[in-house]
Structure formats: structure tokens, C-alpha cells
Amino acid sequence: MRLSTVYRLCAVALLALLVSGAPVPAASAPAHAGDPVHDAEHGGKGGGLDFTGIKRYDLGIYTLIVFGILLFVLSKYAWPNIKAGLEKRESTILSALDEAKKDRAEAADLLARAKKELDATAAKVGAMLDEARKDAEALKAAKAEEGARDAQAERDRAKREVEADRAALTKDVQHQAVELAVLIATKALRQQVSVENQSRLLDESIAELKANANRA
């Protein structure tokens, strides 16, 4: 059971206890209606409409006076402060509202500007990307052309070198063949030529030719 419920139950029980105390003395008290003691205690004779307090002009006049004083006191000491406080609170709320409206308008303006700038930046970036792509493609094409040109030049150069080497080699072979022929002829003139001599001469000449070639 929650504590507040216990408090409530206690309060109800106390109330019931206090209320229940009321009728007991009423029962033990002298008879009420028509009883002079009771009438004196309750300010009336106990008959007719006395129970309404209809003859209690003093009570009516006193209520008027007290209520009048209460109105006067509150109009002097409470309402001016309450009014001032409410006006302050109202102006605070209104200024906060105005400020909030201004802030909202400013935020909307900033947002629009930021969006505009974002759009402009996006367009600029797109243009830059397009340009970069074009540049890259142009560069790629140029590089490819240059590469092909270099490759062709290299091929031509290699071809020329091969041709030159071949020419030099041919010339060299021819020269060696002539030398060989001369050598053979020289040796043949110095001795009689047989089949064995012929073969030996050829071998010696080739070996000599090789030795010359190695020396060269």
C-alpha cells in the first residue's frame, strides 16, 4: 500500500472520528427545540424560520463590512502586484514569442542561403569534374599518341640498327671469304695440292680465319 493512500485513509478515519463525536453530546444535551438554554446558545427563539438566520441582520451587516474590507485590502495590496506580475509575464512571453519568430525567420533565411550555396557549389563541382574528365581524356589521347609515336620511332631505330648490323656482317663475311680465298690460293701456290692437303688447308684456313676473327 502506498504511503499517500495510508495518509488518506488516516485522514478519512480522523474525519469520521471527529464527525462521529458530534451527535453524542447532542443526544446527551437537553432537548433542543423550544429549550430556552438552547435558544439562547443559538441566538434565537427556535421557532419559525429562525433556523435560516433570517433575523440575524448583524450577521448580514458584518458580512458586508468584512467583504468590503477584504475587497479594499486586496485592491490595495494584492491586485496591483498580481496585475503587474501578469503584465510582466505577458510581456516576457510576447518578447520570447517575437524572438522565437525572428529566430525562425533567420533560420529559414540561413537555410535558404545555405541551400542556394550548396546548389551553386554542386554545380561548380560538376563543372570542375566535367572539365577534369575532358582534360584527362585529352591527356590520355595525347599520351597514347605520344607512346605510339615513340614506339614507332624505337621500332624504326631498331630496324635501322638491325639493317646496319646485317650490312656490316655481310661485308665482314665477304671480306673474310675473300681473305680465305686469297689465303687458300697463296698456300696452294706454295705446295702441291692433294685431297688430304686440300682438306688440311681448308681446316687451317678456317682456324686461322676464326683466330683472326676472335682477335678482331
Binding site: 471527529l18 458530534a22 450577521l59 486586496l74 502586484n81 498580481i82 503587474a84
Partner: protein, 290 residues
């Protein structure tokens, strides 16, 4: 001889406070020149309570800060309740704030006088017709003064006269005139009747409510006190009488506790009705229906 029951004896004004009479906790002799002072004291206590609460609220609200704390919120909520649920609906947005001080004071004063009657050993001053009549008189003057200030005395008094035009000959015109006079008399009487009804409604509700509570508790005396004991119980043996007394005590206390909660609601409701009708009548006086 059986004693007579006076059901109003504990509701009307008296010269004593009976806190717990069974324990001898009583205070008698509160009178001045034979006039009981109990209600005068309670009216003063309520007025001082309302005054202190509103001045305190004024001091708190002066800064313009929002309310903080339970008590501040509670008192301020009563003020705004009167403004939003009574003054504005009854008088209209334009004039509501002008009458707010009067209506708030009236509501809190009546509410506190109704509530103080819920304290068992005290009493409700609003259960006296002269107290409610005094407040109705003040409302009567506020209502009609506001009407006169709005449109002038002559014009305001003319608003009570209805415009009736009957087509036909002279006889019809005479009849129309008679009806107009008759209705004007009724309308003027209504102004007084409205104020009287304000007083009687509040007084009757508070008197009846407290009387019912008293009578339900008095059932205990009717089965236990030889002076009030009813015949059926008297004829029973003592054991049965005790049993009836126990059952009746439990029944009465439980029922009175439940009805006391209802009375708490009625204390607020009657204060609301008195103040709301005053606001409506002020609104009608300032802007009469055409």
C-alpha cells in the same frame, strides 16, 4: 418523555465550539450582548485567510516569474480558474479582467466559508441566509452598476422593457401595450429575483447538506440515547440494542464520510455557481440581448 430533535441545531450560528464534546473539549459563551459570535469569527477567519493568500500570491507574482512550488501553483490556479471558467465565459474576453478582482474575491470568500463548514467542530457561515443575502446584495449592485456605467441609467432601465408590436387595430395596440407593461414589470422584478435566488440557492444547499450529515449521524443517538430512542429499538433486549447501535454507528460513519466527500464537491460547486451567475448577470447587464 422523548426529546424533540432539532436537526438545525448544529448547523446554525451558536455561541460555542464543540471540538470533541465527549472528551470535554468544548468552548462556550462566545457572545456579545446575547449575539452569538461563532459565524462572525468564522467569517473573519475566512476573510483573513483569503486576504493573506491573495496578498502572498501578489508578492510572489510581482516578479513576473512563472509559478514554482505546490502552494503557489494551487493559489494561482484558483485565480486562473475564475478568469478562464467564470469571468471570460460570463462577461466576455474584453471586460473579464476588469471584474476579475471582484469575482475572484467573491469566489474565494464563498468557497472558504463553505469549506470551513466541513471541519466538524466549526460551521458554514453560508448556511445562514443573511450571509448569502449580503453577498447577493453586493453582486446586485455590481451587476446593475456595470450596466448603468456601460450605457447610462436611462438607457439601461429601458433594456428591461421589451419591444412588442402587434399588428391590427387599436385593440391589438392596447393589448400590445399591456403586455409590454406586464413584461417590463416582470423584467424589473427578475433583477431582484435573480439576486434573491443567488442568496437562497447557496444558503439552502449549505444548510441542507450539513443538516443531512447531522441527521445521518443522529441515527446513532436515535438507537442509543433513551431520550431519542425510537420505539422499535426500545422494545429489544439490551444485547440486541447494542448490536443495533454498533451496526448503525458503522453505517452512519461510513455514509457520512462518503457524503462529506460529496459536500466537499458541493462546497466548490456552489461557490462556482454563485460567482458564475454573477458574471453572467454582469455580462447580460453590459450587453443585454436584443
Amino acid at each position: 418523555m422523548a426529546k424533540k430533535i432539532d436537526p438545525f441545531s448544529h448547523v446554525v450560528d451558536s455561541n460555542h465550539f464543540e471540538i470533541l464534546p465527549t472528551a470535554g473539549l468544548e468552548w462556550h459563551g462566545l457572545e456579545l450582548g446575547g449575539v452569538p459570535l461563532k459565524f462572525l469569527i468564522l467569517i473573519t477567519v475566512c476573510a483573513v485567510g483569503v486576504g493573506v493568500a491573495m496578498i502572498w500570491l501578489g508578492q510572489k507574482m510581482k516578479s513576473g516569474d512563472p509559478p514554482r512550488g505546490k502552494l503557489w501553483n494551487l493559489v494561482e490556479s484558483l485565480l486562473f480558474f475564475v478568469r478562464d471558467k467564470i469571468a471570460v465565459p460570463g462577461i466576455g474576453e474584453h471586460d473579464a479582467n476588469k471584474y476579475l478582482p471582484y469575482l475572484t474575491t467573491l469566489f474565494l470568500f464563498i468557497f472558504s466559508m463553505n469549506l470551513i463548514g466541513m471541519v466538524p467542530f466549526l460551521g458554514s457561515p453560508t448556511a445562514s441566509i443573511m450571509v448569502t443575502a449580503a453577498l447577493a446584495v453586493v453582486s446586485f449592485f455590481v451587476i446593475h452598476t456595470s450596466g448603468i456605467m456601460e450605457m447610462g441609467t436611462g438607457k439601461y432601465l429601458k433594456t428591461f422593457i421589451p419591444h412588442i408590436e402587434l399588428e391590427g387595430g387599436a385593440a391589438m395596440k392596447v393589448m400590445g401595450g399591456m403586455i409590454t407593461v406586464g413584461m417590463a414589470i416582470l423584467e424589473y422584478a427578475t433583477a431582484f429575483i435573480r439576486a434573491s435566488v443567488l442568496a437562497i440557492r447557496l444558503f439552502a444547499n449549505m444548510l441542507a447538506g450539513h443538516t443531512v450529515l447531522f441527521m445521518i449521524l443522529f441515527f446513532i443517538a436515535m438507537v442509543s440515547d433513551p431520550g431519542y430512542q425510537i420505539g422499535f429499538v426500545k422494545q429489544q433486549p439490551e444485547g440486541v440494542q447494542n448490536l443495533i447501535w454498533g451496526g448503525m454507528s458503522l453505517f452512519s460513519v461510513v455514509l457520512v464520510s462518503a457524503l462529506s466527500l460529496l459536500e466537499l464537491f458541493i462546497a466548490g460547486l456552489q461557490a462556482f455557481i454563485f460567482t458564475f451567475l454573477t458574471a453572467v448577470f454582469i455580462g447580460l447587464a453590459k450587453h443585454p440581448p436584443h
